[in-house]
Symmetry: C2
Subunit: 537 residues, 2 copies
């Protein structure tokens, strides 16, 4: 062993963090330095993430600083931008200085997990919430509280029903747990809202398969289905979410669910930086051998977790769960140790101990080493196992206290919007949907990216068609410029995608870029002089 | 008493919430309905806000849902946009539907507090952090953790020193508490950062007066000054923050402090909606009489808290503290009760029981009913009083546990960025500062709002002046369009204010608005053909 080896671990989920922890144990500091790259400086205890929605677990308690879990590992809190296998270097995003940082490596571990992939389905990116990261969980919780606050003061019945409808697409563990926690939260909290006490909320689970929880045996799935049904959750099997707008979820069979909250746990793919990586793929994931070495880069590069096509002992694809990632991490660390110190690689040989899923409110389903358990015993087991598996004492104590206090104290439903403005955004409209109504307040400018819309004006009780706008056209600026309400109604004629420029951004651009202001000045003149009817505020 | 009266309370701080609580106690539901308008659905226990920075108190534990504190009050989670005293109606911001909501009232309580007001000082809005709301505290904590993570991996010494310098302007209670907590947090947490263990962080308190803590007697202020000095805090008296850039704080005497973190607790004014209100003002605040009635609207409108010019019993202006707001709230509620049921108004007569301020790490200064206490006894008293004053059991239990656990568990320094993109923003440069360097990554376009900058290009070791740009000019777009690094260095020639358009927003606008794209296409042509030298990526 001549020089100190550089081991680079990409990703700070279960797979990455546990690899680093094992490496710290196997190798002495003078043998190898370990660097871990992760966008966040914390690791998330993913299995408890749904409990953040309901506040059963405090949002700061499901996470732990990576530096505390791997004290000997150097953490680089940046994003991975490029992996250069030939030159053995990884480029990460810049920090305060706009310079890329290059990290060389002797051994590379790829554990970047998977990302939500809503591309291709209209309106999904804009209007469907993923549920994958802590930020997703916090954002969902805040959104749900906002819908309840608005439902309480809303006088329009149709809108109030939309505000109280919650749709989850995907009936696997993740989707079921999210909807179960969301329902428990809404049902518990709405007692604090006088006008919502007698309002029924609607919860819909849309699942593409013939039964929910495909990860489990049929009897447990049926048990779960019945239990969720009893709690008022509407389960729609053999249906698929095919589109979404800000007003509704579109389901494959042509069915529509008017709702302001749509969540999908379904589509995922490996991150873009791995998609671009010049190496063999297997079913969209990085191809690895039984030793978890990247195909074509054996002995130098390992891949594991959700990014890699890992096979279990019996040859099935390893599911994206913590128990598998932790075992894979141990195999990778052991094999890197063998590569550095000399020795033979060992293959990954784990089949899974079982499956566990919470159904909320003291119920769960579990299948452990072939034994099926359901209801309260499964729930108690679920909590005990997850608490025991937490790697840090801080989290164990805080989560145990969270679970205890929630029984004693009134629920918390604080809505924490740290950032208000969304900036320039996109929105999808289905044909026939209204963009805004005459008389509405104007707070943004719309630019049509694709599709068409009709401009309609009401006067003396009659509605007239004033203009049709298409791609590249913009509308809604007049209400901003003159600070008045919309002077017409705009309705999508076809499916339509727009860019939203908020009032503040629009005004900043207009006042700073003369030619940008010119564009709108000319348009305003054309609309008010050339064709006074087509002026659209 | 013929009809049910409508009482409208604007603001959900100590003043507003305690007014609603007292009104709930005094009046029967059939006598009056109480509506409270607040932007957030929670009330913040302001005195403990600095402890959120250090994580001594969990961020969700300093807040409480307003609905739980005032169960009989209708909460409207919206922003107050207009107060129409003549027509007795308040207009609030829209929710999901872009329609304004009008709230009529018989009796109005104005308790909208104060807002940060950085206007007029160059760079303050862009580069100085206020410390007033929970969002400010969370954002500051996240920023500080980010600077530590970056300092750990930064190789440039100058930048590392900037990352480890923390400046607070304002040496009153608020500024002192913020800097003391910030220092404690950084000193505790940097032990988890191997490279920062031997790095010294710099803490600077800039105060305009001749001694800190003007709220207290001189002997206690001197005690605090010495103690903070011993803990490594640099105190600069008789100095004022006069400007800021992303790189440094500018102090009145011409002194500069290179720093990436600048906080100001100083400037405040009443919210814009109150500034516009047609009524008498006194020192920039709403003028009220001894009964806290708004001048000219006696018997109908009351104002209290930081929005109003309330006088104490001895005729001094009431300080912006919780103890005063709570007593004012009781006076207002009693006087509204008198107005509804008949009876005479009572004047506000409270002098203040004393002052209390934490200095961090088991020290505080206190002056209660004339008795001066300092050090640990003051700190113990401070904690006991604040814990006892919490209105909800949930918060008492959780905060007591937070304080206990912090002694037993390792510190938490999770960096929670929920939102990444900032959108279109502004930046201020002082003359001579570099905007970007040749070779930097390009991630935004700059539009000059005022001032000028030089474009400099280095080749074969020599730097040449290529162009000077002024208001309305933009630069930096070439690196985005061609996805390469900056081909020149841009430096501010005079003080300069710019608009930053992030890459994503720039591309969305360019691809959706043909005329916007044209502007940049023409510019690119002019720069590369007409004058190849002036092309600025």
């Amino acid at each position: 062993m001549a020089t100190k080896k550089q081991i680079l671990v990409l990703g700070g989920g279960f797979a990455g963090v546990y690899t680093a922890r094992h490496l710290e144990r196997y190798l002495r500091p003078e043998e190898a330095s370990i660097v871990l790259v992760n966008q966040e400086n914390y690791w998330v205890y993913q299995p408890l993430l749904p409990e953040v929605i309901s506040g059963l677990v405090g949002l700061m308690d499901v996470v732990c600083p990576i530096r505390q879990l791997c004290p000997r590992t150097e953490l680089v809190m940046r994003e991975v931008e490029k992996i250069d296998l030939a030159n053995k270097v990884v480029v990460v995003s810049p920090g305060f200085r706009p310079r890329p940082l290059e990290l060389p490596f002797d051994y590379l571990v790829i554990a970047l997990g998977s990302v939500s992939n809503f591309c291709g389905t209209p309106g999904m990116v804009e209007h469907v919430r993923p549920f994958r990261t802590l930020a997703d969980a916090v954002s969902l919780r805040n959104h749900v509280i906002y819908t309840l606050e608005e439902a309480e003061i809303e006088t329009n019945d149709e809108l109030r029903r939309k505000l109280l409808t919650f749709v989850v697409a995907g009936g696997g563990f993740s989707g079921v747990e999210v909807l179960a926690e969301l329902r428990d939260f809404v049902e518990k909290v709405r007692r604090s809202f006088p006008k919502l006490r007698n309002q029924k909320a609607r919860y819909v689970l849309v699942h593409a398969g013939g039964r929910i929880l495909p990860e489990m045996s049929e009897s447990l799935a049926l048990y779960a289905h019945k239990l969720l049904g009893k709690r008022g959750i509407e389960i729609r099997l053999n249906e698929r979410l095919v589109g979404a707008t800000s007003e509704k979820a579109l389901v494959g069979s042509g069915f529509q669910i008017p709702a302001k909250t749509i969540i999908s746990s379904v589509p995922s793919s490996i991150p873009l930086v791995l998609q671009k990586l010049a190496c063999e793929k297997d079913g969209g994931r990085l191809k690895v051998n039984a030793n978890l070495e990247l195909a074509g880069h054996e002995g130098k590069v390992w891949a594991l977790g959700d990014s890699a096509s890992v096979k279990t002992f019996s040859g099935k694809r390893a599911p994206p769960t913590a128990q598998h990632a932790i075992r894979e991490a141990k195999t990778v660390a052991r094999n890197i140790n063998a590569a550095i110190r000399g020795g033979s690689s060992t293959p990954f040989a784990f089949e899974g101990l079982g499956t566990l899923g919470s159904l909320g409110r003291y119920s769960a389903v579990a299948e452990i080493l072939g034994v099926r358990v359901s209801g309260f015993p499964a729930w108690a087991l679920w909590r005990a196992i997850y608490l025991a598996k937490l790697p840090s004492l801080r989290q164990q104590v805080r989560i145990a206290l969270d679970w205890l206090l929630v029984l004693l104290l009134p629920p918390d439903f604080v809505q924490m919007r740290v950032v208000r403005e969304a900036g320039i955004a996109r929105q999808h409209f289905e044909a026939g949907e209204t963009v805004f109504f005459q008389g509405d307040l104007g707070d943004k400018v719309y630019v049509i990216r694709s599709g068409e819309c009709d401009v309609l004006r009401e006067s003396a009780g009659a509605q007239r068609h004033v203009a049709t706008l298409g791609p590249g056209d913009y509308f809604g600026e007049m209400a901003l410029i003159n600070d008045v309400t919309r002077n017409s109604t705009v309705r999508a004629r076809t499916n339509m995608d727009v860019l939203l420029v908020p009032k503040n951004d629009f005004e900043a651009l207009k006042s700073s870029i003369p030619s940008f202001a010119d564009v709108f000045r000319k348009l305003a003149n054309a609309r008010s002089i050339g064709n006074p009817e087509s002026a659209t505020k």
